[in-house]
Amino acid sequence: MEPGLSIESGSAIRVAVLPVGGPIPPPRLREYAALVARHARVDLASLRTYYAEHQKSPFAHQPWDTGCLRLKFVLGGCVPSPWEDFQSSRKVLAVIGICHLPSSSDLDRVAAEFVDAARSYPSALANRCFAFCPTDAQLAGKKRDDIIMLPPSDQQSLELHMLTMIQDLAASLLMEFEKWVLRAESTGTILKTPLDSQSSLGSEEVIKAKKRRLGRAQKIIGDYCLLAGSPVDANAHYTTAIELARLTGDVFWHAGALEGSVCALVVDRMGQSDPVLEDEVKYRYYTIIQLYRRATLQDNAQRVSPVSFELEAALKLARYLCRRELAKEVSDLLMGAADGAKALIDASDRLILYIEIARLFGTLGYKRKAAFFSRQVAQLYLQQDNAYAAMSAMQVLTMTTNAYHVQSRKTSKMNHDSSKEPRTDSGKVHPQSIVSLFESQWSTLQMVVLREILMSSIRAADPLSSWSAAARLLRSFYPLITPAGQSGLASSLANSADKLPTGTRCADPCLPFIRLHSFPLHPSQRDIVKRNPQKKEWWTGAGPSGPFIYTPFSKAGASGTSKQEVSWIVGEPVQVMVELANPCSFDLVVESIYLSVHSGNFDAFPVSVRLPPNTSKLVLLSGIPTQVGQISIPGCIVHCFGVITEHLFKEVDCLLLGAAQGLVLSDPFRCCGSSKFKCVNFPSISVVPPLPLLVANVVGGDGSILLYEGEIRDVLITLTNAGTVPVEEANIALSGKNQDSVISIAHSTWKSALPIKPGGEVTFTVTLRAWHLSSADLEADGNRSPANARRIAREGINPFLDIHYAGPAANPENGDVSLPPGRRLVVPLNICVVQGMRLVRARLLSMEIPARFTEAHLRPASGKDGISAGNDTEPTDTNELKIDPYKGSWGLRLLELELFNPTDVVFDVDVAVNLDDMDVDQKVISEVNAAAAACHKTRIDRDYSARVLIPLENFKLPVLDASFFVKESGSDGPLGSRAAAIAERNAKAELNASINNLISKIKVKWYSGRNSSGELNIKDAIQAALQASIMDILLPDPLTFSFKLAQNGAVTNVDSSKDAGNLSSYSNDENIAPTGNVLRCKDPISAHEMTHMEVQIRNNTKEIIRMNLSISCKDVAGQNCFDENSATVLWAGVLSEIHLEVPPLQEVVHPFSVYFLVPGDYSLQASSVIIDATDVLRARAKAESPDEPILCRGSPFHIRVVGTA
């Protein structure tokens, strides 16, 4: 059988094209052959110049104007067919030699070789030898007849030259045909086919043969007419031949003549599509097939079977009919032909048959059928044991890969570049298009095909193909391959790679599977803030302001369906996280993997990974953008198994989608134990020009700053510009939790350093105060080893410094100023607060001072002092003055703080009370382990506790003096303590404010042994301690008393306008003792002198107060000096039972004079019994019964009397 036969092929003159002389480089040979082969059709009209009619032409009806000669060039020649007498088109009628002169200099040898080669084609009627690329010497030499030299020239003239040569050849062939036909007509020929048995030469046979000879001769003449391009002549001869053959029963030749006639018919009507013609051809060909079959049956016993002619006829008809609308008929014909394959003895015949069937099915559009027969062809090739056959098998199988959907990406990429893009505009994958990706995937068949490709390519020694096939097999079908098979494939990959040069690229990726995981953006990359030229403070509202990733107030469309946008900056490294999976059972060593960027503006850094069997791994791939522009990262370049491949993310995404829909065998990531599939959209990445890059550095290390509770410390932060652009503007703000722990930021420092040049740095101070640990924190601490107070800073409790900064505005020359984006740097202040001084408790001290004096004591002197609120002193106790009233503890309240030092360093505690914006260091009485020593600093050793006393004498608030009480009195209607309680409740807010005000004035500072200092947060504790008696501390008395010296007419004002801020909380039958502070006259008074004094009584209420005032004087011993029996003091003026009326919020002055006889210390005290006290006063005094006398008393006024004598 012969390949490529068609109905018209009977009219083609077969020309063998043989390379002669020295070896011709394959591309040259291909070039020369193409040069020859382009003249497959030579018009008869063009032959006239070369044609010389020696005799009368037998081709009477030759169409000189329209006809043509058809040449069929067979490169390399062919084996002479035993059937060439039967069909002249099988004969090699001409031989063309091709010689590449540079590789064969000796022309004589070439000529000889060509003659030798042509000798093997005895049927050749004309020979030509073309020699290409002759040297000048060869051209200059004697012109040879046997070699035609084509001098080197341009392509066009070479073609023209060749055309002339071929036309010459065709003309000489035509003349030879004429000669042959004339001879055959006159003398006749003996034509034999292998069917005509040589052995049986019986007389009957001889007679039969004689009869048949004429018909056969007619048939052959017809053949030559066809070859000579004269179908009409041919038809005439064929008709005769058909008649004769039918008469003589020469079935085989009958069929041959019929075939020739159809060929003549078709050639004659070439280019016309006529249904009548088609029907005619069909009808005749079915007859031909029938005849051939009959001939086959007839000669069944013979050695040679003409079955191939039957099959060829079927194929010819099929090719003639091969159109989509006749698919049924054609496929029936082809299937019939395929059935005939069994009858073919020769393997190469079967090969040709299958090839032809596959080609025809392919033309018909039956891809799967074509692939099936191609695979049959490949199997036949594989049965032959040589490398060329294997190569052919490989190539044939490669052609089938499209039909089986296992094509190499190299070819598929060419076929449909972006047509099968499964992603639609929205970035969502349409499920239908995903399905289409997996259409017609017969995994079993795919595996078989790939395995056969692998086998054949190994046999054909094509390492790249075998690598590619093994890679496809392993990647697509690993779940169907046993572990041993997987290892086998891995080793065949490795073997193939060994034969390949290093750095070979292959279009088909192997393992691992790679999918995009995420973009772990470096903070400096993430925080690129678009600058709004209209807005001066462009940073506001730009970044996330809270702890939430999503806020409903952020710009719509920033997230969600639209593709996210990422900006990368030239020269700054970026990272992309990908996930690799090795679902196979062998160790996978990825020699290098890096991002594949086609836009060419990205330098990717390779990493190498080792993946154990059935594992997946997250790998961070990094690189540096090098140029401004868009970057798209379709996948990764992987160097694995010795070959470089590109792995596309999109393909894996589709694969995973397919796996999710049950279309693919398995999900490589799932079987490696990785998480569920999530589709990561690749953001559109744009590279922007360089921006400044600030790097923050906390001086002293980036570790957390260890602070004791309440500690105040300055932290130095260094900002370095690591970019290439200066920082021109910046803004520093706070965010995150515990913002109040940052007391101050030295804004002026960094502002003065602007602009920060590249490489420049600025250091500024941030003052921190550690916050107070909550009880939960303390418990957590307790669970840890108590010895080590250090603790790890918890996430999310730290404040951040948000630094927004930007470089200069770009190119202002063309008018519009384009602002490059600014950036944000977030500096976490890693504060680790450890427990410092601990406040165990705070309380108002109950001073153990006689709380009450008897009436007898009281009347001459007011030996009375303040007692804390909750203290129930015994009313019977008298005379127990623990604190000398003259030493100034009068009315003193002490707040005791018990502190414990659980740390491992020594703490010094310093209490400061800030009054009236002025620090007044109060006396601190501390008792460290019963060592009562008054000092300003209290040292507390580790694991010891100490008590710190804070005197609260100065906390009467002058501002609130009257107003608070006025308000209270104004709002209060009911009597008694209930009314007071209501009043207190009503004024609670105001009260709380005043309490806070009071508390904020108390500051307990500490200095630790670690050379740090801070403040103790004691607000809550103090508040709790003060809550009960706050009224007493804060509220002013209804009456305040003050003494003044009136000397020389001028009154020396002694500041006694203090608030004796507490009414006694207990009630006596006859007195209520408001206590006040001890006041002193600054200058000593001389004895033996009349001293004019006055007592000033101020009414703090809004109502008029009537009262009986009495003034007492006591000496050091507490004796009443105004006693009539006493001789130490003389006085003038009324001192007791003075009836006074004080108008509201007014003062009344009562003057008197004293004359001290004995130097020493004295104290004056004024007290008054209020007559007809109002309810408010009673409430204030907490009187229990309405008829109780209300006694008001001022603080003692201390006088130092110095003697003159």
């Binding site: 049924k328 891809k367 499920p431 259409e439 078989v448 999710a660 049950g662 279309l663």
Partner: protein, 166 residues
């Protein structure tokens, strides 16, 4: 029972969703491949032929050597191609999102049998009964249309039918 029989159900996406070697001949892997290759190649013919007839059972549509391919095309084939009456069904896909998709009743499904026996009636009955089984599979709400049939029950039944009819 036929010595060679290979039964394949091909889904609408031309993916084999069920394959079974139901012949009595001893199983050989190479042959099984070959059978599938033949069936795969026959799809070209079947898909052309299905449009020319309204018969569901197409006998001997293709052959290779001694093996004959018979085909049973389910009725959904034509419906789905022209999408006349798609059933609008809410479906929860693998991502958890609910989508409404046009899902045709066993659309495009082709039963293919490669056989060497000529008992036409038996083959037709076999196809009809397998079709019933297949519809039962299809009614399973957990069965994702177009995905592989993994039910062992179905497999057992099909093999029993093969023994009975082929």
């Amino acid at each position: 029972m036929a010595s060679t029989a290979c039964f394949v159900i091909v889904s609408k996406n031309d993916i084999p969703i069920y394959e079974a070697e139901v012949g009595s001949a001893p199983k050989k892997e190479d042959l099984a491949y070959q059978h599938q290759f033949i069936l795969h190649a026959a799809l070209d013919v079947v898909q052309d032929l299905a449009w020319t007839t309204n018969a569901m059972f197409l006998k001997s549509v293709d052959r290779f050597n001694d093996l004959v391919v018979s085909v049973y095309v389910t009725a959904g084939h034509i419906l789905s191609k022209s999408s006349f009456s798609p059933l609008l069904q809410p479906r929860v896909d693998s991502h958890g999102s609910i989508s409404f998709c046009y899902q045709c009743c066993n659309a495009n499904t082709i039963f293919m049998l490669l056989h060497d026996s000529r008992s036409e009636d038996g083959i037709k009955s076999f196809f009809q009964e397998v079709h019933e089984l297949y519809i039962k599979i299809f009614l399973n709400p957990l069965y994702l249309p177009g995905s592989r049939i993994t039910s062992s029950h179905f497999d057992t039944k099909v093999r029993a039918l093969a023994r009975k009819y082929l």
